[in-house]
């Protein structure tokens, strides 16, 4: 409890002492009376005690009855109010589902969240002054929008009124955990109710975090063993269909030509979620730099059809609008049922030139004997097949490695790691930490690959690789089914075909079970051929390593068709990944590894600060195109935020399924939204009953006064009526 003006309370307390002081100061010490007729007085006192006991008992009974009835009369409104809650001021924890699926709109354009908001407003309006309300939103990550439980009902109402559907998935378990914490911390002796408000479509009940929701027992324990009511709105039974863009992917030519606008193919995948899949049409369009003239495409939805793919062909000219070589393309579908899923953005690499440094000794004479061509030379040929490719290659002597030299490259191919000293490893580490891509190739010139330990410790990568390479008895083919993905996504459709002719004659022996990277290519005996380490919290850049050197003594890869696209894609995707532009899901807090990054500017004017550790200070809740800026406002990289498709699943949940999801025995009571406010309104006091009791109180007061005066009069004024007039004594 807080006082508006504490000094008045202090003054009030101080004022209490005044009557006490007056009493003490004016208290008279009774002067003893020497009394002659003591025998008579003692007899009178004895008799009086008997009589007074009866009188006082009668008065006591009347006074007790007066107080009892007065208390009941005054308490009737309170009792009536408490009848529904079982206590005094209440703590109401509202959990409102504002997750992605809550944005589903009915035919009149009103979102389901609005229904929950209306119910919440009615509920809050039914609360009394003194009641506390805490509002928790389920959109990932769940959070309290009130400053803890608040008695400011009006402020809570305003916050609720302004709610908009979130772009992230619903995290019901997280919200309930939050509610549990609120109850544990603030319930005290207040009757507590947790209320879930939502339409509870399938998308809102995606589980994560806790496997089970808190039950009544645990909440009761949290509330100090006071029972906690758990109410939830019943799930909606209205079917809904949502058209979402589930994927936007771009296919560009592998052999991009330097300086030319590449022709790109953008594939937009649409899905219809829901059960009522009737015939309809959708219009899909693509937004992005250089795509202004791309015509919208129409999709015909036949009954029952749930997926459609639309392909756009365009030429990208996004150089001017690109940030660190990337641009954003956004696909839209003209569905208003779930706005955050009716558009989807993706990052597009629009850089024209990639500078690659190959770390090896400079060789000025080229050998025509294929057997003698070194790894670095094969790499040069693969990366720069002609003079007009998008990749520029430059040789770097291991002895000349410096930070100044490395700063001019987007990617490094470390062909002679055995020649790199400790200082140079540190420089390479710094290169990767600041966003460079590193491809490590085993040197063919050494038998014992002791450099592996230095690499592992310098780059903080953990793979158990034997120092000595192994030479399989028979050449080992690359596996027919390759893991692919990540860097090689553009080759996914051809990778199996391209990799099958490749044979491995010698390779580093890698313990598959102990690594922390990803195996991108593997041989038929499940030995890793290409390993990749994507950026993490510690490192911004990407690292990849071939376990077999691109040398014909080790593998025939250099003379196979896979060589060029593999190296090209590795470099392109590796550098693209390392640039810092990323795609995240709504609700996440991305880690920005650029030390100069200061804020994240979003689709709206609001920007989010980035702390010293590179962590965005609050979750990114809005979909779209966010830009990482430094302190001067210069754009450093791009972050694209999309919603999770499954979070928009409009499938209907049955009440039993909801109970099962919340826990069958957890103690939840399902109610309609129209029933909910009644659970919180105080019962109206019965005026007749209160009037009767107040009347009784008045009558008893009169009786008490009369009896008291009668008893007192007989005591005090007895002399005038019954004092003896014996012997003329007056």
């Amino acid at each position: 409890m807080t006082f508006v003006t504490a000094w008045i309370a202090v003054a009030g307390l101080a004022a209490i002492s005044i009557p006490i002081l007056v009493h003490l100061l004016f208290r008279r010490r009774r002067k003893p009376v020497d009394w002659g007729a003591m025998r008579l007085l003692m007899e009178a006192v004895r008799r009086h005690r008997r009589r007074a006991r009866v009188e006082q008992l009668l008065l006591l009974c009347i006074r007790c009855l007066v107080l009892l009835l007065l208390g009941l009369a005054l308490a009737e409104p309170i009792i009536a109010g408490l009848r529904s809650m079982g206590g005094g001021s209440r703590l109401v924890v509202l959990i409102i589902d504002d997750g992605l699926v809550s944005g589903i709109q009915n035919p009149s354009g009103v979102s389901e969240l609005q229904s929950s908001v209306d119910a919440a407003l009615q509920l809050v309006d039914g609360l009394d002054s003194g009641d506390r309300v805490a509002v928790i939103l389920t959109a990932y990550p769940p959070h309290l929008i009130t400053d803890g439980p608040t008695i400011n009902i009006d402020a809570a109402s305003r916050l609720i009124k302004d709610l908009q559907p979130g772009a992230s998935r619903s995290d019901l378990n997280g919200a309930l955990s939050l509610a549990e914490g609120v109850v544990q911390e603030h319930a005290g002796s207040s009757p507590t109710t947790i209320t879930l408000l939502g339409s509870w479509r399938q998308g809102a009940l995606l589980g994560s975090g806790r496997s089970t929701t808190p039950d009544q027992e645990s909440l009761t324990a949290s509330a100090g063993d006071r029972p906690v009511r758990m109410l939830a709105t019943s799930p909606t039974s209205e079917p809904a269909t949502v058209i979402v863009i589930s994927d936007v992917s771009m296919r560009r030519p592998v052999d991009a030509v330097r300086g030319e606008q590449p022709q790109v193919r953008t594939t937009v995948t649409l899905r219809r979620l829901g059960t009522d899949l009737v015939a309809s049409r959708s219009l899909v369009r693509l937004d992005g730099p250089g795509l202004e003239n791309t015509l919208p495409r129409q999709v015909e939805w036949t009954p029952g059809r749930s997926e459609a793919v639309v392909e756009f062909v365009s030429r990208s000219s996004a150089v001017n609008s690109a940030v660190d070589g990337t641009s954003v393309i956004t696909a839209h579908v003209d569905s208003t049922s779930l706005p955050d899923l009716s558009r989807r953005s993706m990052l597009v690499d629009t850089s024209n030139t990639i500078k690659v440094g190959i770390i090896d000794r400079q060789i000025f004479a080229s050998s025509n004997d294929l057997e003698n061509i070194q790894s670095a030379e094969w790499m040069e040929r693969a990366l720069e097949p002609g003079n007009e490719g998008a990749v520029e290659v430059e040789r770097i002597d291991p002895a000349s490695i410096s930070s100044r030299i490395l700063r001019g490259f987007d990617a490094l191919v470390l062909a002679r790691p055995d020649l790199v000293g400790d200082n140079e490893w540190d420089l390479i580490k710094k290169f990767t930490d600041t966003g460079g891509f590193l491809l490590v190739v085993p040197p063919t010139q050494v038998q014992a690959h002791t450099w592996l330990d230095r690499m592992g410790s310098s780059l903080d990568i953990a793979w158990n690789i034997r120092v000595e390479p192994i030479n399989p008895d028979e050449p080992v083919d690359l596996a027919v089914d390759q893991p692919g993905g990540s860097f090689l996504s553009l080759l996914d459709s051809e990778i199996d075909q391209l990799s099958s002719p490749v044979q491995v004659f010698r390779r580093l022996d890698v313990d598959v079970d102990q690594g922390d990277g990803r195996v991108l290519l593997t041989s038929s005996d499940d030995a890793p051929f290409l390993i990749g380490w994507e950026p993490d919290a510690e490192r911004r850049g990407t690292i990849a390593m071939l376990t077999s050197a691109p040398h014909l003594e080790w593998t025939n890869l250099p003379i196979k068709p896979l060589m060029v696209p593999l190296m090209q894609e590795l470099i392109r995707e590796g550098t693209s990944t390392s640039r810092g532009s990323v795609e995240i899901l709504a609700g996440e807090r991305p880690l920005i590894s650029m030390s100069s990054a200061r804020e994240l500017g979003g689709p709206s004017e609001k920007s989010i600060p980035i702390d010293q550790d590179g962590l965005v200070s609050e979750p990114v809740r809005r979909n779209g195109h966010w830009v990482v800026r430094d302190s001067s406002g210069t754009a450093l990289s791009t972050i694209v935020v999309n919603s999770e498709i499954t979070a928009g699943d409009p499938g209907i949940t049955s009440p039993d399924a909801l109970r099962a999801r919340l826990g069958v025995d957890a103690g939840w009571t399902l109610l309609g939204t129209d029933e909910l406010p009644d659970q919180f309104s105080r019962d109206e006091p019965n005026p007749v009953w209160s009037l009767f009791m107040l009347t009784s109180v008045l009558l008893l007061l009169v009786l008490e006064t009369v009896l008291n005066r009668w008893f007192a009069r007989s005591r005090v004024s007895g002399t005038s009526t019954s004092a003896p007039s014996l012997g003329g004594l007056r």
Partner: protein, 324 residues
Amino acid sequence: MVEKGSIRAEQYLAPETLSQIAPFEMRAKMVVEGVMNGMHRSPYQGLAVEFAEHRQYVPGDETRHLDWKVFGRTDKLYLKQYQQETNLDIILLVDASGSMRYGSLDEKNGWGGTKAGESTSTWTKYDHATATSAALAHLCLQQRDRIGLATFANKIRSQVKRSNMREQWRSIVQILSQDPVDDETNLVKVSDQVLSSVNNRALFFLISDFMCDPVQIREALARFRHKRHDVVLVQVLDRREVHFDFDETAPFVGLEGEGTIHVDSRSVRETYLEVFAKHQAEIQSIARGFGFDFEQINSHESVGPPLARLFARRIAIARRNSRG
């Protein structure tokens, strides 16, 4: 016990009291035996001034009392009988117990210019009893009746032998000027002590507040009645004892060692008055049962009017008896 150096008559006897009681004669309601000629009839008939009646002669009677005139007219022998007038012995029994120290008249001076004892700050019941006794003594001595005094509590404390000498009044007042003690009253014991030293019939003025057990009073009066003495019960009460008009809770300290009790005066008042009235009625009933006079005196008022009332009543009774 404080001895007084010099006693002035006006200290206990106000002139107005004397003027109020002067017209009355102290007459014994019952015939008392006196050894001196006085105003009161003697039960012993014979040689006396006033003729009483005739009775027939019986052998053995003294012939000197024969009424020869009657014998000459009727030829029958009648003896003359005379009513002998005698002196009245009056004994003042004054209660000097602790309860008599109570007084609420918040003045050193009593009524009519009288003064209280030096050891108290108020006019006590004992002061009033002293004033009453002084007035009675003065009246008796004026009638040449012998008067004696005994003060008592649980026993006789001091006494003055009966005498009708002029100095007797001062002796009586001197004894009365002594302060009362804290002892309680024991009337039975006192009556035994007094009666053992009084052989002739006398008139006793028992001056007390009678704040003792009525049974005790009954037993004491029975002893007086048995010895055929006349007793006048003079009850001296303070006005506050009668009205109990206290308005606050206060500790009440018993003057006879009863201890202290805290009393809510307003609430106890009614009950006290009931008890007091019952006590008074009982005492009066006892006195009436023995045929003794009972008079109450308020210590806040002059002793004259009640004494005058007492004397008037006694004279009326005496006249009625003489006619009968």
